[in-house]
Subunit: 172 residues, 2 copies
Amino acid sequence: MADGKAGGTKGGQALLFLTDEQLRKGIEAMFFAYRGFTADPDRILEKYGYGRAHHRAIHFISRAPGTNVNNLLGILGVTKQSLNRVLRALIEDGLVESRVGVQDKRERHLYLSESGKALEAELSEAQRARMRVAYREAGHEAVAGFRRVLEAMMDPDQAAYFNAMATKEDKG
Amino acid sequence: MADGKAGGTKGGQALLFLTDEQLRKGIEAMFFAYRGFTADPDRILEKYGYGRAHHRAIHFISRAPGTNVNNLLGILGVTKQSLNRVLRALIEDGLVESRVGVQDKRERHLYLSESGKALEAELSEAQRARMRVAYREAGHEAVAGFRRVLEAMMDPDQAAYFNAMATKEDKG
DNA sequence: ACTTTAAGTCAGTGTTGTTGACATTCCAAG
DNA sequence: CTTGGAATGTCAACAACACTGACTTAAAGT
């Protein structure tokens, strides 16, 4: 494994010759790209005194309105205490509403208020704008490849959440 | 922009119809994939009492041995003070050597020691292993697309650093 | 009644980022 | 040669956000 070569060991698939250098380039690309990916929302969040944790909460509440805290915990992969701090701030500021469950009164169902939706839209549009440019520059087939590699890179549990959130509009 | 449609406005390139939903899926894929991407190194780092910041420093020192602090600062995009804390720990633990510059005695040139190289190899191999699996699952063309999209997603400055680190081995 | 589950809270700790103040070194203008 | 500014790097203090662990409250399940 220290000889710098990997892959191409005649599996059923097409051969893939991957040098350590090529893999390393992919790793660095992830690092730099993720920074670009979060840069625009970070600037917006700063205006409101929020951080990435708040963004993530807002994003997934927007994505699955009425979700409960436990579910959000699973998606975000953080501790209860950590999420709670963020959620408390968002609720106090009136961006998120927490409603007691009807069937199960222990649960709290989370929704974005109007102002919450407004911030979500602002953050989301900034991030989509960058994504759109990147997709356009890279082209149609590149996008499909991009998605395939990312999905293969996820942990199985996370991939399950990811695919569970697929909608009818999204095929491939 | 609130109508959920974007792209396909007959530019010179092939048409790209991108719904907000598709873009959002890409955003979420980045989020989940990055978590998988960092999961393995995180586990290793924990054993040694280090964090991601240490990993990044080790990675780029390994990549460009003899680099000075200022250069590293530009690559990592953090403040001098933040990097310094990390560097100090690595130097105290004997993983990194800091040598006073010959031409300019203000500069400190950074190198990995033998134990530093060993940790770098451990971290790097874990991350490459995941990358390798993802690349294999996704296939050859997907990898090219993956790289193209990531590069387009970077900030221009970061993309410059990224491309500057390209080696003769890496074409495309 | 007893246990489990969902949510929230309090206290303490660690990593990582920030700003501010400071030391050293280089270089160029006077 | 000296002096002042710019560049390089260091030290100290603080804020954000993650973590663990222990605990409370309320509701559901058995």
